[in-house]
Symmetry: D2
Subunit: 310 residues, 4 copies
């Protein structure tokens, strides 16, 4: 269970099959640097181009197509004291009739205060003089190489993960990705210091990070990304429209509740019908992201370990 | 500020212009009975037909087209000790390929325990033997008569409210509806003892209620329903696909932040970009429902009262 | 088989249950006047209000819920020499990013030349000096009263018909509507002198008409509107997004091919897979309209008459 | 203007940047072989794997990012006498409630009769004993390498073309693709002997072909694929839902009418409003395809050549 300190020198704008930057053992931890969505690093130097340049790919020994990669997010530490966002709201979240009067896109700088653990507009807008939401670091874009020789833009997302921009991909969360190539080929980047649901200004607070993740191979097969926080389990669907993303996430949750919690379709529906929560990861990127989430307090793992062990 | 105890004898399956069941003054409170989605009352007698038979309409003196009706939900008390749901999951939330193997729809009875304030399947499914989520009463369908002589089925929802099935329409919440006819003509019913996001089994726990609401007329104009809880403000969009419902809700929130909180489009986007939450009311009915929600801790009302007073 | 000449004095902005304007026998023909989408009649007097004021409702003796109303469009004669449209394109058909630069909506007058059977802008735009497409009259909005006491705006459409804006609802076509109330209660109006697919400027060439239709009751049940031209049969779905409208239309066609043409699901798919055509009626109204169309040359009616007779 | 006879030995399941199979001059013609969607060649040998293995990529001298590749489809000759389809209808075109009763997917063989120029099921279904639609060859999947190092599955489509399954990509048509890499890197394959709108059984009649195309580089920039037949011009949008595909196609047509035909947004809307036609290429693949089509009889090219010349 080694810890590797990796300093990237190349970045990728697609998740695909490429020469690994580092080979690690199953269960190892990686501490590495990520740059922001526009390619700016900790020194505010632009070292790569848009969109969402990725650090990676990391080759995990023993990972085979059909397996699952579990990525435990140990730590996300901003590596500079500013980030940036756009204003105003993205066109995808507005009634078409409201678009004509909408102001043009601008870029804004936020200060990231690691002591107070809050973020704040460098030039506050009128009415937001005291607005300083908490620092809530998250990973915007991460995942593994997709199947079939595809190379998918880091602007979008699919079954292999990618640019999901979901705020629960945060420290303490374990994310699962379906593996399609030997070694999994894991990429990460596009960290946000904070972001509401939907990434509705087209960005979180985009900044560079030192990220620490632990990578484990599970000998089981999943269809869409899954995740677990201290409180919840969740599944992810990436598609347009939101309806389809929600269908992917819900169907994956149905599978999970059967595999690991012994609930058949009818029992799962009783549970989900009363306690399910849906989150909108992003409603901005080419593929939208919906999470289907259930509090773990409602769940009891199968004694036999379900299909998760092997 | 009188309180009226109204016992309905007729029910309605559309929200439209009909003879008022009761005329009340602006600010009065109504205590009334509602029956469940299939027309069953507190004595488990079927006294009306599907879908979602409504109690009402209540005529509020002084309400004029262009005004807003504020409905404060004082209390929702189940009036019998059982409710019912369907299983399995609704087809709208599944990948089409998963539908073929899906079991047929069944109806299930739940016990509503007002002492422990929890609900429980009468015949628990395997794996759910101890599943007893809290009693969380909510109104599934309520709203006012729509514009232009329309009469809209209580199966669906629109700008005038209707079958939104959003779990935050709960005791303590104030809901706002845009008024299109003199007197507003307010209807309510379809109470649920509990329901997760999305109403994804096609029902909440459907039961009869004694509901208590206070109705006030605001001399201001809104476009889509709005609401306020102890912690949050929210706006509602009703449409398909979910994307369009989300656009309606988000655009309405943008208007609200301008009117009452003095935030222009750019400032509002800074706030929403970092702290907005989206909830899925229902993803089952003909029109889906999305709520755009913001915690009040981030908001400061305009000193001048914005456009809310007059 | 009488022919009735009916001159309307009232108009309706919803399709619902209302006092019939005329009672006719099954098989009778009605010759009547319709006014344009904004309420302007043959004398260019505004005699009713938006949207799409309807002539009707006509009560057809013998029509019962569960039956089908066949409306043969005998003749559509413009009753004045001008019509109007909007420019530019509707927002529903544009990429959101293209909306900001889009010019504001304007109204334009077209001359309807019944001799040359063509239409022409009164003030031609640059580049369209010779643009004079043929007069192609069609009915924008027609249908029957919906079920369950609903009254649906003539701005939209549903299973009962309504504002479908499909250019094959033209002379020579027979349209079928599912009947939900005694007498069917048939409405018509919103004639267009011409219109492309999708009604993408938000209007056809809107004008007043003398319309002649023959109404027959079929003792059979359909779910969505159907139609037949000299060359084709077609089914209609009305919903958003277009995907759902297309699903409704396709599923209805599958039923029709089984009922009347003896094709099971597999055979129907062989036929449709090779020769089906989809038309976009409108992509502008609250509900979009898709037609699923098959040329009659590929079809052979069942010898036993299928389920159409009784 | 040479003609190259190219016999492929490798096939590709993604459109991406790969070693060219052949370098040709601007204006050259290529005669080559394509295999069917499942990888079966003219001898009914499976020589490559799904989905839609492509012949190519062809490097066109002088093609630069920002240019447009014009592909004139000279000839599509089936290279064997059978093709295959699936039944029944794809799940994407059915109401969800109709899926449960739907029969399972089967594969069927069709005979391709090059003399009568028709196709016919080898084992006709009941009611289709005489069903023999005309041979109407088309290209299901073709296009150029996408931007940014992406490699996109031949199951789907995007701005660079791909698996559009549009029946007007047929002999006599010229298709235009936006070029993103030096040499354009053109791929083609997935020929169909016949196909209705929407590819609604999930296939056309899939077979191997000898295809002949002429490739020219235009020094102009387009955003989405365009095409021209003897009668029409058309633009293509690829996305989900159909609404978004239609928006892409319509917006691209608006640009084209401005660039080449001198019509501003208002004039273009007058023309399109009356004569536009929408076709559904496919409503089956991950991205759906909509064509926006206008008959050339309504169009007059700008005297100055618009932006098409160089």
């Amino acid at each position: 269970m080694a810890t590797h300190r990796f300093r990237p020198t190349r970045y990728f704008n697609v998740l695909g099959t490429a020469e690994p930057c580092l080979r690690i053992a199953n269960g190892d931890t990686v501490v590495t640097d990520t740059i922001d969505a526009s390619g700016m690093d900790a020194q505010e130097m632009t070292v790569a181009s848009r969109p969402n340049p990725m650090t990676g790919p990391f080759f995990v020994e023993g990972a085979e197509p059909g397996d699952t990669l579990a990525v435990h997010i140990e730590r996300l530490t901003p590596s500079r004291s500013t980030g940036w966002t756009y204003s105003p709201l993205a066109l995808t979240v507005l009634d078409p009739a409201a678009i004509a009067d909408h102001p043009p896109q601008q870029r804004h700088v936020w200060e990231i205060d690691s002591k107070t653990r809050s973020v704040r507009l460098q030039e506050p807008a009128k009415g937001l003089e005291t607005f300083a939401p908490p620092l809530q670091p998250m990973i915007g874009c991460f995942g593994v190489a997709p199947a079939g020789g595809q190379a998918l833009s880091t602007a979008t997302s699919a079954q292999n993960g990618g640019n999901m921009d979901y705020r629960l991909f945060a420290p303490g969360t374990t994310a699962w990705f379906p593996i399609s190539v030997p070694g999994a080929l894991f990429y990460l980047g596009d960290g946000h210091a904070c972001q509401g649901d939907g990434e509705i200004v087209g960005t979180g607070i985009e900044t560079s990070f030192e990220m620490e993740v632990t990578l484990r191979v599970l000998k089981r097969t999943i269809t869409w990304p899954r995740g677990e926080t201290i409180d919840d389990i969740f599944t992810i669907g990436n598609a347009r429209p939101l309806d389809q993303a929600l269908q992917h996430a819900t169907t994956e949750m149905l599978r999970w509740l059967g595999e690991d919690y012994g609930l058949d379709a009818r029992a799962a529906s009783h549970l989900m019908g009363q306690v399910v929560r849906y989150d909108v990861g992003n409603v901005f990127n080419p593929a939208f992201t919906v999470a289907c989430r259930i509090a773990k307090r409602w769940l009891t793992k199968r004694q036999d370990g379900g299909s998760s062990g092997r």
